[in-house]
């Protein structure tokens, strides 16, 4: 129960509170995943929920991701609203077939008769010094799949609201949580403020010279870069995309038409990452406004490296600023 109207919370706490609210609001909401029960998940996002809502609603599953998502499909057919936790980004792939061929297609296949109100939560991205498969950014693959909706939160308050909105959505939502941010920064949550709709982007810093598009973990990087750039007299606008599929291109086009320049920043591999789609759309819609090509900064086109290299491998403030400079110099 969220008692007070404002409190300082982490992203982990925001998600936990949001899940709790959703479970209180609707008895059909179930949580399922590996270690989500007693342990509260390896990141403690479901901490305390099994204790309060019981084993029937917070379900520890056998160790099988396809099984988790596949049985969640069946529960959704029976009228439940399953919220599934994939323990780490790199472990979503055994469930890929169920997600892409079943979750994404059942509404279409059934001509709308079988809705799939399922949320698949995935802690994603790097920067926590983990071993292989624990730092992936699989979002492009899901965004390429019609039938899924894909969102990424970037801060505690969004985490709190967006998870509730995703659960309330009658379509399947891939819900990406920047694990590096789980316990990083705190923010003030005011429960009485009406949140923005789920599938909208947001300008998180205004600027005139260049537009930086980011989501999830790179929003913080982008904001820091904008701060640093401001020190050197360059005015960077930062947009937190929040929704990756559908994209909310309105604010993006408006911004780029104004600045004439855009840089996309994500942790996923650049090749065929979200930046590709954003560049393709921006160059089409803002063709005459662009003063430089849309540039992309992201993970290199190599597998994620051993963690001692991750800070070099991930797009950071310097690499983003470098791209901003290149854009401005064009």
């Amino acid at each position: 129960m969220v008692q007070q109207t404002t409190e300082k919370i982490t992203l982990a706490k925001g998600l936990n509170l949001g899940l709790r609210k959703a479970m209180e609001a609707d008895p059909k909401v179930l949580l399922m995943g590996e270690d989500v029960g007693k342990l509260g998940g390896v990141f403690r996002i479901t901490d305390g929920l099994q204790k309060d809502f019981g084993e029937d609603r917070v379900i520890d599953s056998p160790l099988a991701e396809s099984g988790i998502v596949g049985t969640a499909v069946g529960m959704a057919m029976r009228g439940y609203r399953p919220v599934v936790e994939i323990q780490f980004d790199g472990f979503v792939y055994p469930a890929y077939d169920q997600i892409v061929c079943q979750v994404a297609k059942l509404h279409f296949r059934s001509q709308g008769r079988i809705p799939m109100p399922m949320v698949i939560r995935i802690p994603f991205g790097g920067g926590i010094g983990a071993v292989e498969h624990h730092s992936e950014s699989p979002e492009a693959q899901f965004a390429h799949t019609p039938g899924l909706k894909v969102v990424a939160c970037s801060n505690p308050v969004d985490g709190y609201w967006m998870i509730q909105q995703a659960i309330a959505c009658d379509d399947p939502v891939i819900f990406l949580e920047p694990k590096r941010q789980y316990h990083a920064d705190k923010a003030e949550l005011d429960d009485s403020v009406e949140p923005a709709p789920l599938f909208t982007s947001r300008v998180v810093r205004q600027g005139d010279d260049v537009t930086v598009l980011a989501y999830g973990p790179t929003v913080k990087t982008a904001l820091k870069a904008a701060e640093a750039a401001a020190g050197e007299g360059r005015s960077v606008e930062v947009i937190d995309l929040r929704t990756l599929s559908p994209l909310d291109m309105g604010p993006v086009h408006e911004s780029v038409r104004r600045t004439g320049r855009a840089v996309v920043c994500h942790e996923a591999h650049v090749n065929l990452g979200l930046g590709a789609e954003l560049a393709a759309r921006v160059q089409e819609e803002c063709f005459y406004s662009l003063e430089a090509p849309v540039l992309r900064v992201g993970g290199f086109d190599t597998p994620y490296p051993a963690s001692r290299l991750e800070e070099e491998w991930l797009p950071d403030l310097d690499r983003l600023l470098d791209a901003v400079d290149r854009s401005l110099a064009f």
Binding site: P62, M75, M77, Q98, F108, Q111, R113, P246, D248
Partner: protein, 395 residues
């Protein structure tokens, strides 16, 4: 220490299991549950008996099963013909599997829920689904145009095995709804998941066994072992009788003569009842044979002997019920004539109905992707609509 072999290598694992179980025999082996022989003779089984339930006369029930099988076979042959005439793109034939499907289908109660493969035309029939509805998918006008909730019969699933997990999850939902093990026969419900022998090799199917066992979910895994997965014989998928797979997961498995509608009915009914009562999952292997091709595009002469097919013809599921009814004077010729007439009428209805199935409309595809359509898809639809209408002037 160099890890040299002990004096009696390989000791301790007992006899070779494959030897104990024996290869899966053409006649299903001694474990096969049978209540009606291929010759149409009733036989007793120590554990299972055919019981159509209170208030239903046995011979009437058996005539009903006969009628079901004849009509289901007609659906199949008619659809095959429709494919040959270009009215269907493809058809998945069930010839030879009528008893397995009707036996399983008739064992269901209204509140039970079915997850089919792409071949469950006979189960669909038992659920009361209009057989015309089955044709849309194969004609290419839809992916299955019925509401699963209306008949408690899910859409056909083409990705092998995926539906077994859905079935298990649905059964877990029933547990949460409190409709399992209450003791109220009109309330207690179960799920049946259909799949093939080939499907038993998929990870998803084995995971569904694990989840069902772990949660003791009310689900019956009903496998039609028709001996083939397209061109691959059952021996590629398992070296022991398939029903024994369940033992490894801690729930019972049973092999029933899938060409014997009475035995299939009895075994499925008992398995469903276990599930409804809260005793958890059961694996039923309906031992049968795919008499036809895998689908109408398949050519089985490339991979199997016609001799095998011939020997299975002697075990025809319909012929044995007919023989039983006739020999025991349980049905007049007029009954058989009436069923034949009904089948003919059904054939006509399918032929005509198939051709009349409405073609889908291009713009519909956009509307069906999401419950809440996205603005970008809305835009794509509008753009395409404009594009389409740009041709209208041209004509």
């Amino acid at each position: 220490m160099d890890g040299t072999a002990p004096a009696s290598p390989g000791a301790g694992f007992g006899p070779d299991l494959a030897e104990v179980f024996g290869p899966s025999q053409q006649h299903g082996g001694p474990e096969l549950v049978q209540l009606l022989t291929p010759e149409g003779e009733r036989v007793e089984h120590a554990e299972f008996r055919f019981d159509p339930g209170p208030g239903v006369a046995e011979d009437e029930a058996i005539r009903g099963l006969y009628r079901d099988m004849v009509l289901v076979r007609r659906i199949d042959t008619e659809s095959t013909a429709l494919q040959r005439h270009g009215e269907l793109g493809i058809w998945a034939q069930l010839l030879g599997q009528e008893a397995a499907q009707v036996g399983a289908g008739r064992a269901l109660r209204p509140q039970d829920f079915v997850f089919p493969t792409y071949r469950e035309h006979g189960v669909a029939w038992c659920r009361g689904l209009d057989p015309l509805k089955l044709l849309g998918l194969f004609r290419g006008v839809d992916h299955g145009d019925w509401d699963p909730k209306d008949v408690n019969f899910g859409l056909y699933t083409i990705v092998i095995g995926a539906q077994t997990l859905h079935a298990t999850g649905y059964a877990m939902g029933m547990q949460r709804d409190g409709v399992v093990g209450t003791g109220d026969p009109d309330r207690d419900a179960a799920v049946i998941a259909h799949f093939g022998d080939g499907a038993s090799s998929q990870g998803d199917v084995n995971e569904s066994f694990i989840f069902a066992a772990s949660y003791n979910a009310p689900v019956v895994f009903f496998c039609q072992n028709n001996q083939w997965a397209i061109s691959e014989p059952i021996e590629r998928q398992t070296r022991i009788p398939l029903y024994q797979r369940a033992l490894g997961f801690g729930f019972p498995g049973v092999r029933v003569d899938g060409n014997d509608v009475l035995a299939t009915y009895a075994v499925t009914q008992a398995a469903l009842q276990r599930a409804r009562e809260g005793q958890g999952p059961t694996f039923v292997e309906a031992y049968t044979y795919r008499m036809g091709a895998h689908t109408t595009t398949d050519d089985p002469t490339r991979y199997r002997l016609s001799d095998d097919v011939e020997s299975w013809k002697l075990r025809d599921p319909i012929a044995r019920v007919e023989a039983y009814l006739k020999r025991n004077g349980l049905a007049e010729q007029s009954f058989f004539d009436a069923v034949a007439t009904e089948a003919d009428e059904l054939g006509v209805r399918l032929r005509e109905g198939c051709k009349a199935l409405p073609d889908p409309q291009p713009l519909d595809v956009f509307d069906r992707v999401y419950a809440e359509m996205t603005p970008e898809l809305e835009a794509q639809k509008a753009e395409y609509a404009a594009y389409l209408s740009s041709f209208e002037g041209a004509h």
